[in-house]
Symmetry: none
Subunit: 213 residues, 4 copies
DNA sequence: GATGAATGAGCTTTCATTCAT
DNA sequence: TATGAATGAAAGCTCATTCAT
């Protein structure tokens, strides 16, 4: 005779707590945190309005967990493995990283913009086990990849992997934010044709003309 | 013959309408548009609760104007003129553009994040005379500058000015958003030492090793 | 050099006071007193919002005058003269009175229903020169007419003219109120075909069977 | 397992929903629907301001239910059964019907006048189970009664029961509205002495002189 | 725990009225 | 006297949170 489990649990969910986080995470993914009410979450989870206060201090704590879950889900949803040093060409690999980052930030950034200006959620989120989400992992992966290529001689020894990571992630922020602020366009940003290639080309060859000589 | 004059007007303000926009703009600058209420605005402006409806259709219209005013104030607050082609070095000019953009986005972006998910404000804002704010002007300036340098031969002919603009603005988004999502840090992002140089260097020289031979 | 007249006056209006009453009366006629605001009135009169307080103690006083004007306008709008004793047949005359009363109450009653529960307006209205409006004149006319017919022997001597007036006006109230409470129907009540005839017949011949013998 | 129970419930009330309807119904009975606010209702019910939205879509829905309850309460409050054909005299029965109708409309009509011009309430009310309130039942009862008397020969075969019903209900509207528009008088209309008798007499014997011999 | 109705502060918005001009 | 912007109380409604069951 095992103890009674909550009726609303889905496959793989061990507790109502997890179930609430998953349900809230789904809402965050779909609509952001902007107009999210506790009633919405309770209804989406199929439970009573007040349950969440048995498992979380307040709405903000649950939203922080939901955000966290959403980030991890988005990271897990990235297809395939990131390129490794030495494979293909550096250009193709940069492009692959850019496309990975774009996919990730398209999913994540909308949720985060809604949480700016909600200090309680931010504080809760910062206190979670792995506050390093939000694309940080991807940043590190890219920098590591570039250091690998430097060792192989396919990237200039003087290049700055961390700066490249900032540039590449920044492009994603720019494209996604642009779409968010112009809701008339498509939900998933489709960068102007050629932009990805141009960015990769710029990162590869830079602006400076060849040294005379 | 004339109606009563608002007691709350500050120096240089011609109408309560302007005064309200200014007051709301100050709040938007300080706290973003997230938890902004009409009472907050009225209190900050030193006027009665209902006044704003004598001058604006609804709260969203006022917030859109406040946002607009805030953007223009931030743009006006940029020191000096942007570098012109041929002056100084390309590296110094790129750094100057980056610092300009960083200053601008530090002021602007926090306000815009709060407005994501407020479609009514976005729609009103898009309807204002100059919807080209939000750093768009700076983007164009930079691309134009780079095209000038291309003509002078100080930038590779094959370089992509628009891609560089995206990269540079993207860096700003990345740095500002990072701070917004970690409110424990300073309000104005102070990038890691060396990052600006590294970014400029990357943009100038790229990743690719010098062609052999 | 006569004194300046308000710009908004219409033909025949001597003062802004009259102009306001006329404008408010037109609004009352068109939309009742339900959602009427002082701004509506000022706009309809083409004057500033606050003027009415130079001529009336408050909104209620103006509305009372407007109601009064509306009643008089409706009474003045009745076509022709009421039937006189001895003309035509009594049946035709009763029908004519009923139709007059119906026309009058269709115009007047909607405005009055909105004013029930507004004691301030009612009190002001009761204080006006001729609070006898509202169909009272018609009631007296009908009773007088019937007394004339009694003298001529075309109406039973024992008949009660005042009771007949109540019955006839009551029919109007019933029909108009029915329409007001069922806004899906036509604005001007079109009584069920035959109802007018049946009412007239009932008033003429009553319910009792002919006395035996 | 069950949620909290409202502390404000009165005897016999099963739910706060019923309690709210009853409280609102009392207010409607006392003051009409004219200046009724949700705060008034909440205060009268002894509950928090926002409760009603847990049970009704909006204020109008609650008011419609309150109106409905008020009508049913008034109908239930009528003393005794309506007269049946063949009992007593037709004159006494007509008087009894008139007094019934007067009692009913004295209670009901004030509430309905306030609702004219509130289309949302009217629409909600029309959607309720028994929109036949408002004296309609009484109208049918009277017409049926008269048809019964026609069969017994105590009422002329040519008489028009429906027209009589309109006349009788119309008298009520007239008397009650008269009082509503002259709030200085008593709340429950006390018709002029003799008026009831005169109306009954008129309905019975009509205006026409006996046909010559 | 889980329930879900009750709570009440707080939101945006309206509008009769005032009053400096 | 006419103006019309300023006032501020009050309206309908939402929603995070509590708590008796």
């Amino acid at each position: 005779m095992s103890p009674r489990r909550a009726a609303a649990l889905r496959d793989g969910e061990q507790s109502l707590r997890e179930h609430l986080i998953a349900a809230a995470g789904r809402l965050v993914a779909a609509r952001g945190t902007a107009g999210l009410t506790v009633r919405d979450i309770a209804r989406a989870a199929g439970v009573a309005d007040g349950v969440l206060y048995n498992h979380f201090a307040d709405k903000e704590e649950l939203v922080a967990y939901a955000l966290h879950a959403h980030v991890r889900a988005a990271e897990a949803g990235l297809s395939g493995a990131p390129p490794a040093p030495g494979e293909e060409t550096v250009a193709a690999n940069l492009r692959a990283y850019l496309e990975r980052a774009l996919a990730l930030h398209s999913a994540i950034l909308p949720a985060f913009t809604g949480v700016v200006g909600q200090p309680k959620v931010l504080a809760r989120f910062a206190g979670l086990p792995n506050p390093m989400g939000g694309g940080h992992g991807l940043r590190v992966e890219l920098a590591d990849y570039l250091r690998g290529e430097q060792r192989l001689g396919r990237v200039r020894a003087e290049a700055r992997p961390d700066a490249v990571a900032v540039l590449l992630v920044g492009v994603c922020h720019d494209l996604v934010l642009g779409r968010l602020l112009d809701p008339s366009g498509p939900a998933v940003p489709e960068p102007a044709p050629g932009l990805v290639s141009d960015v990769v080309d710029t990162l590869l060859h830079g602006l400076a003309p060849p040294a005379p000589g």
